[in-house]
């Protein structure tokens, strides 16, 4: 397994944010991380990115334990995009991508910038300040930053949140195409069930810090006797676990 999460736990003072979760991701697989707000998705992603220290458990990436292995060596193989994290607004798109390209140690950076700006159709606003862009444009720039190092593992937190259907579809199509052409393992946290069904090989359902179910979209829909993933999500999210 390329990514192994073993008994991962995070406790903030008295609050149990993530409760002994276990899952694995195969190389080049896309996994959806689903769950209601506050279920521990962002905390789990934060731990995988090395931003949050787990209270217990292990994150093993390509047989290297994130807690004990050199931080920068593992991080150079990862990247992350989220609409809630921004790039410096006063810098142009080109400047931002150049800086992150250098931080990720990209060789032949100008070629990579040209490549990625064409692929994501951001060339026409490449020299505009990032803060002056629309949400859709910012989102594509954020995605460009997350792919600048051709990551082996890509973590996406609601990548199409607040985008209009057209741009949302552009981003989803791009991710699908990118996956076909590049070897990338993706963990996608999303509230958009159509997106998850379209992009993910399988999903993990979280609730109150725990994994309550996992499997392929089809198998979960079938298992819970629902018509689609959205209904399945609602059934699991609203189910009273105490009974």
């Amino acid at each position: 397994m390329f990514v192994q999460i073993k008994n991962l736990t995070k406790i903030y003072k008295e609050y149990l944010a993530v409760n002994k979760i276990n899952f694995e991701i195969k190389k080049n697989e896309t996994i959806g991380l689903l769950g209601p707000n506050g279920c521990g998705k962002t905390t789990s992603i934060g731990m995988m990115l090395g931003l949050i220290t787990p209270t217990a458990g292990e994150i093993i990436i390509d047989n290297k334990n994130l807690n004990t292995f050199k931080r920068d060596e593992i991080l150079s193989r990862l990247n992350f995009a989220s609409p809630y994290v921004e790039l410096p607004k006063k810098l142009t798109v080109r400047q931002n991508l150049e800086i992150y390209g250098r931080l990720y140690g990209i060789s032949n950076l100008s070629k990579r910038l040209s490549e990625i700006s064409s692929d994501l159709d951001i060339k026409n606003f490449f020299d505009r300040k990032t803060g002056e862009l629309s949400s859709g444009q910012k989102n594509r720039v954020s995605l460009a930053k997350s792919l600048i190092n051709k990551p082996e593992i890509l973590l996406l937190d609601e990548p199409t949140a607040s985008l209009d259907p057209d741009i949302g579809d552009f981003v989803r199509t791009y991710i699908q195409e990118y996956k076909k052409q590049n070897k990338v393992t993706i963990l996608l946290a999303s509230h958009n069930m159509n997106e998850v069904e379209r992009l993910c090989d399988s999903v993990i359902m979280m609730k109150k810090g725990k994994i309550i179910d996992k499997g392929t979209c089809e198998s979960l829909i079938k298992k819970h006797g629902r018509n689609n993933l959205e209904e399945t999500f609602l059934e699991l999210a609203r189910r009273n676990d105490e009974s």
């Binding site: 931003l51 994290v85 790039l87 400047q95």
Partner: protein, 263 residues
Amino acid sequence: MNLNKIYALGLRHIYLISNSFPRILDLIYWPTVQIFLWGFISKFFTLNSEYYSNTIGVILTAAILYDFLFRASISFNMMFLEEIWSRNFTNLFIAPIKISEIIISLTLTALVRTLIGLIPAAILAVPLFGVSVLTLGPSLIFLLFSLYLFGVTLGLLVTSGLLRFGPSFENIAWASLFFLAPLGCIYYPIEILPPLLQIIAKALPLVHIFEEMRNILMNSEINQFNILKSISISVVYFVFGVIIFYISYFGAKKRGTLINMGE
């Protein structure tokens, strides 16, 4: 240590400054105002004070050196705050850059920011008030080094506070230097302070720096031991600052505050 990554992080701040004329103006404006203000005060005291009678420019030189310290510290804090204000914190801390590289980059870029502001002001002091910091001779380099190291240390301590307490610690960032200024004996000799405060003041490098500055300008003597003492104390504080920064960073990771750091 990867120099390209250190350069990249510095470049982020150089771009920020070069993209905005008001930012460049802001960097130059305040040191220049300081020079004018202290230039006139210096002139007044030179003419009316027995202590400063034959030493034109002691106060103004002190003001320039103090501003160097102030700008070094504020520059370090500002660059860190910029990452918080722009909500770029997560991107920065998931990039494959070592914490030591972040510290080195901020430290070096703080020097660039400081010099952008201070060099024009220091040059201006020559024709306007007939005062040049170069009068301090080669000792100037060592005094500036000590001030710079201490300024960066204060920056490290404030950014550690930002990591620990979040953006609400921002106000402390602005207040930190004013808190130490009275003990620094920038414009007056240490004997002015009450005995207890003298003991505390001697534990700071500032007293030794400014005492030595006065010694050079007023007595035309160089006390190398004083300079060495100020640098040694600054180095000790710097190491302490780095340790506190690391403790705060690991504490922030434990509390999970790095992922939500922003305005």
